[in-house]
Amino acid sequence: MEFEFSVAGKKRTVTLEGKPPDARVVIDGREYRVDWANVPGGIISMIVEGRSRTARVARREGGLAVWVGGHRLDLDLGSADDAVESVRAGGGGSGIIKAPMPGTVVKVLVQEGSSVSVGQSLVIVEAMKMENDVRASVAGVVRKVNVSAGDSVGTTEPMVEIEPAGDKPTC
């Protein structure tokens, strides 16, 4: 089996062959002998060339969150470009602005037809007793505002849609 991940923006390919205790994993040409067992509770016990490591893996938006041997890493699924696209709150060049975390809209700072520049604050969302500015990731004109003060928002609904000005920026 072959998998492709991005770690810190860099593409990594991983292949997995065989079964424990003699499974083989190849990463960037380097081969590891791996013995592994699934422990109840979603935990993976791995012995990688004699090194015993416990890993916990969970899904996250755009990929996986991994905790292994005291380190926590985020892996993005797909190519580096896809990863950047999915990780950036707001959808990058498409001008679709979503909340980066669930909360309540405190104030909407723009309206349909407003001209906005990159980094301009569009909506203030309150979460965990702090107010957070949600900013424009592109310059352009606000095409649609889908929220108003007092609305509860999650991370999937577009709050503001911007018609980007000029060409789409390349990643």
Partner: protein
């Protein structure tokens, strides 16, 4: 006491509940709608709903809290920290309703909550306060004279408003007239009032606070200091005891001053006297925190005294059986506050479901936790998840133990400050004990999250591949979105997004 109602939530409510149950006293919890399944409710003997999620409608709702106490027949309320803990009107209401408020008398609470009255009380008592003109006003001559008296550097501050607007740092007599003129100009424009005053500038101070305990019979002791200088945006994140800056002589003087301050305020029960400590060993009273504090476990581990137990005993009318001469500090304790914040993303709060959790344990490790695996962190309250405290024979052993404990701590599903705290504790500056209030600004401000080392990356990749290939990986709970590519995937050949 027959029954204690805990007017709080999260980790402190859990800790207090344990203290009550250690003494055989039944516990009643209160909860808002989003906290129905929170740990403090699961750990209580009884629980009463007090309102919808917003704090104003629940944990700050005095009528609801008093009503809950009546419903369960509680004869005492422990307010924890935050929320109603320092609300003197709430304490007074408890007194009027004959429910014992586990804290100071409402009059003392009212006094220490008033900064000006506190400072005046302390000044009258001979407790050192930050030198400055108590009364603002007086022309430039008065300011210049006062500055000469105090010694430089000084701060010129606007009297009519705060936020540091118009504040000028002045290092020598020659600079003062211009600084006064500038400050007046800015103050006039910002607040409509150009009155200014001068105050001594404490450079690179340490925030050192003393724990005090007073009974209702006039006995007061201090339980030594906590060093709380490591703060981000004025929020404490790492605390320890003893402080590397205190000699036994300075400790004795500050402790005696803290006791004097508590007496002057008519204080009873547990409280903390905060000081600013200058590099030359001068210290100045800041304020009294009239509550059990977040970082109280640091003191508990170093002195062996159970502060919540003492609070309950004092509130029951018992005399303190602790004598100052018998209290000692043993070993060293360090606390790290664990927040649901994302340091890689401007410390934005990170609510959500905790999908995987492994809490640190072992010798010398105490974890005051309000979380469990599967729990959904709500958006409505402060993001403190838990406190991790370690104790060891000396500071270096405690520091290593903290690093070990942090490395055992796994949380997936939300972002936390665990790795950030590890970097602080591992830093050369922390190891050397150079902890002043500018620590974060000086050592962590330009920090980029450390690039993960290659062997950790490889191990993570192996784990991810194993996860995706296994039955567990295909069925695991996690944040499944409607249009997740994983639901559309048939074969397992590639981890690319289907378009």
């Amino acid at each position: 006491m027959k029954k204690i109602l805990i007017a709080n939530r999260g980790e402190i409510a859990v800790r207090i509940a344990r203290g009550c149950r250690d003494m055989g006293i039944p516990v009643a919890a209160v909860y808002s709608d989003v906290d129905r399944a929170s740990l403090h409710v699961l750990e209580a003997d009884e629980a009463v709903r007090i309102g919808p999620a917003p704090a104003l409608e629940s944990y700050l709702n005095v009528d609801a809290v008093i009503g809950a106490a009546r419903t369960v027949g509680a004869d005492a309320i422990h307010p924890g920290y935050g929320f109603l803990a320092e609300n003197w009107q709430f304490a007074k209401r408890c007194e009027d309703e004959r429910i014992k408020f586990i804290g100071p008398p409402s009059a003392a609470l009212r006094l220490v909550g008033d900064k000006i009255r506190s400072r005046e009380t302390m000044l009258a008592e001979g407790v050192p306060i930050i030198p400055g003109m108590l009364q603002a006003g007086g022309g430039d001559d008065a300011c210049i004279a006062k500055a000469g008296e105090m010694g430089y550097p000084v701060l010129v501050k606007a009297s009519a408003g705060g936020g540091g607007k118009g504040m000028q740092i002045v290092r020598s007599k020659g600079e003062l007239p211009n600084a006064l003129a500038t400050a007046r100009r800015v103050a006039k424009s910002a607040f409509g009032d150009d009155t200014v005053y001068v105050e001594k500038l404490i450079e690179r101070p340490r925030h050192v606070e003393f724990q005090v305990l007073a009974d209702e019979h006039g006995n007061v002791v201090h339980l030594f200091e906590r060093e709380c200088s490591i703060q981000r945006r004025h929020q404490k994140i790492v605390e320890e005891s003893p402080s590397t800056a205190l000699t036994p002589e300075l400790r004795a003087r500050m402790g005696e001053t803290a006791v004097r301050a508590a007496r002057a305020a008519g204080y009873a029960n547990a409280g903390t006297v905060e000081f600013l400590l200058d590099e030359d060993g001068s210290f100045y009273f800041l304020e009294v925190n009239a509550r059990i504090q977040v970082e109280h476990p640091v003191t508990e581990l170093v002195t062996g005294v159970d502060l919540v137990r003492e609070q309950i005993l004092v509130a029951s009318g018992r005399k303190l059986d602790l004598k100052q001469a018998d209290l000692v500090q043993r070993g060293h304790a360090i606390e790290c506050r664990i927040y649901a914040e994302d340091p890689a993303n401007g410390f934005l709060p990170s609510p959500g479901r905790i999908v995987s959790l492994r809490e640190p344990a072992g010798p010398g490790v105490r974890h005051d936790s309000g979380i469990y695996e599967g729990w959904e962190v709500p958006v409505h309250y402060a993001p403190i998840l838990s406190k991790l405290i370690v104790h060891a024979a000396d500071r270096e052993a405690a520091r290593h133990r903290m690093l070990r404990a942090l490395s055992e701590f796994a949380v997936l599903g939300i972002a936390t400050t665990i790795e950030y705290l590890r970097e602080i504790v591992a830093s050369e500056a922390f190891a050397a004990g150079r902890t002043q209030t500018d620590f974060i600004e000086k050592h962590m401000a330009d920090r980029r999250p450390a690039a993960p080392d290659e062997s950790a990356v490889h191990e993570a990749l192996v784990a991810a591949a194993l996860f995706l290939s296994s039955k567990t990986g295909r069925e695991a709970p996690g944040r499944r979105r409607e249009s997740s590519p994983w639901d559309a995937l048939g074969s397992w050949s590639i981890g690319r997004r289907s378009s």
